[in-house]
């Protein structure tokens, strides 16, 4: 195996995250002797990773020249959800140059789904977003063997078990690819460019169709022995609760998630206890979690109560995880984060009451900043890190 020099990766990451930097400043920042830095930059220019960017402002004496990532670098970022495909093509600084979002059913299997991903990427090329891709990052809604680049026993992804996702994308686009769990890429996105910027130990809780947790420890994503760390949706919160899709009773996900909330809202509308939900059921024949959010904004008591109940359930699980991991921050994201501050207030209340004071003394519990873009943002970070590692 080739050894990757972390300093070289650091150099490319600095240019990614800060844009054009003078050679002098880069040398200071990386504490790299000037001859070595110049040799390394020359190598990266020849490889097509780095480009000249003019003269820096004077620091006295001879003016240093600026370098930046090549304007031709392109990464693809893909976020596969249970019912959606998000694709972005980004430049070296991870700014989107093309973006596509469309509904899709992950249960249609890997061939159909990845075929559509490939079509979207080829469309982006035809539209002029890139000539060639330097790396692809993709997130899928289930456990992943990060090393092998394949999903592993994903419960809601029939046909995907050990499907060679990485290999297929690499072959199709002629560049390296990296596969991760969808909640992990959201956590990575939020740490790179969101509310958890530079926070080394935090939990990213995704509340959407299902519930999952991305775990950052010591500045790295923790994925567990089999790639299924963070699967908190099946922690039992009520031994007498409803049956979950996994076959157990009262899992968090069975009690509170997009699907569970839609069920509870439908029942409330049918029982005519919520004017807001009754109206929406009559108008459209179905109610969703979003209807509950809107009802709550209008002050509908039942909607507010449904959100509070859910927040309490999530909070009770989080309280235990806070005692266990003693993180620096908790970020709430995913579709149900739209339930907003009522949800957040209830989660906070339970976590602060139930966890150790030492662990919650300075513990912010906050909403995701990147929202629905968190996943592709993180996939882009993974893709660039992969490419930088290959160049280093």
């Amino acid at each position: 195996m080739r050894t990757i020099d972390p300093l070289h990766v650091q150099l490319l990451r600095t240019l990614r995250d800060e844009g054009a930097v003078s050679r002098a400043e880069l040398g200071d920042r990386l504490q790299m002797p000037r001859p070595r830095l110049l040799a390394e930059l020359e190598r990266l220019v020849n490889l097509g990773y780095v480009a000249e960017a003019g003269l820096a402002a004077s620091r006295g004496g001879r003016r240093s020249t600026l370098v930046e990532l090549s304007p031709h670098l392109r990464f693809a970022a893909v976020d596969l959800g249970a019912s959606s495909i998000d694709v972005e093509v980004v430049n070296g600084r991870l700014e989107p140059v093309a973006a596509y979002t469309e509904p899709a059913d992950i249960r249609s299997g890997p061939k159909v789904t990845l075929q559509r991903v490939n079509e979207l990427l080829h469309k982006a090329r035809v539209d002029g977003a890139y000539e060639r891709l330097d790396a692809i990052g993709i997130g899928v809604p289930g456990p992943v063997s990060f090393r092998d680049g394949v999903p592993v026993s994903p419960p809601i992804m029939p046909g995907w078990d050990r499907f060679p996702v990485r290999e297929l994308l690499t072959r199709e686009h002629g560049c390296p690819a990296v596969v991760d769990n969808d909640v992990n890429i959201m956590a990575i996105g939020e740490r790179h460019g969101g509310v958890a910027h530079s926070v080394d130990d935090f939990l990213f809780i995704k509340i959407g169709t299902g519930i999952g947790c991305g775990i950052y420890l010591n500045g790295e994503v923790y994925r567990g022995t089999d790639g299924c760390a963070g699967d908190i949706g099946h922690i039992q919160v009520d031994p007498n609760g409803p049956m979950c899709s996994c076959g157990n009773l009262g899992c968090l996900e069975a009690v509170f998630s997009g699907a569970a909330l839609a069920r509870a809202a439908t029942a409330a509308a049918r029982a005519e206890v919520s004017p807001a939900l009754v109206e929406r059921l009559a108008a459209r024949g179905a109610v969703t979690a979003l209807d509950v959010a809107q009802g709550a904004v209008e002050g509908d008591v039942t909607c507010i109560q449904l959100i509070r109940d859910g927040g309490r359930r999530v909070g009770s699980v989080l309280a235990g995880l806070v005692s266990f991991t003693n993180p620096s921050m908790i970020v709430i994201g995913g579709g149900l984060a739209q339930l907003g501050h009522i949800l957040l207030a209830e989660i906070r209340s339970v976590v602060y009451r139930r966890s150790l004071p030492l662990a919650t003394g300075n513990l912010p519990v906050v909403l995701s900043e990147l929202g629905p873009r968190a996943g592709v943002a993180g996939a882009a970070v993974l893709a660039s890190d992969l490419a930088f590692g290959e160049a280093a």
Copy 2:
């Protein structure tokens, strides 16, 4: 800050864990060029860390010479429990050359407790166990700032908050010292010389007076932002359960721990539902967790049921932590591990039923191998690592 060369630490660890090794084999093992290895060994011989140990068996050609850790190296390992002091002095290979165990009350405060630790260590010197100590490792029953070497807001240790434990020991014995949480040192001990040998991701569950968890991730102890990671004793397992010392209802520790089990056993004896416990209460005026263990061995149904109930509670918390961290192994230790296989069977049953199949497919749930020695064993590992880092 001085940079520690990990290869040098690795060299000393190899001699610690494997004894006398030939120069040739060391070079192979560490993939260190021979001139550099010889220079490094000479430096470590001069520093008093390494000694010659004769000639190795022939590998053809000139016979390589053996080196080993200096026979004069001595580390002190201290495990402070809620109600006990364990002290060992060990040699470079971490073999005990002196050991003391005595009852003590951590609530008598840091001055009294550490005074006693110092007396025991001085006694060991007078007894000939060492001339000078090279490092001290100590574990305390509460959260610790590992960086600062002080306890932080420890709930059951009045007077210890931010007490300069490391500084006091360093000053008294003229050597570096390292302070950690008692469950962490047990986990470290079990990984170095016990059932979790070389396992990179595991949870060590201590069930004793209280309940805590040592967390190994990626081969390192994870301590959390404030040093209180693994504090699982206060995870709520029953919203209608008894009040805990922390003020919340139904914490795991309030429902099942040494103290909780003694209370439940006393109640069972008074209610005369358990012949084994009635007999012991009459004989000694009190019953303990150990009486429950012995009653269970004798087949007393109430004792067995008490252990099963406790195992179920611990198992329900562990099931969630398994889904969350996806570890490779769970080790059960601490005083109540004496409850043995009934406890283990119940914990296993709940964990295997409640966690994701992917996470439990290859998950051993096993008893600690080192038992009451786990703590001092881990403190000795920490002390030696500290000394090796200073030498490297």
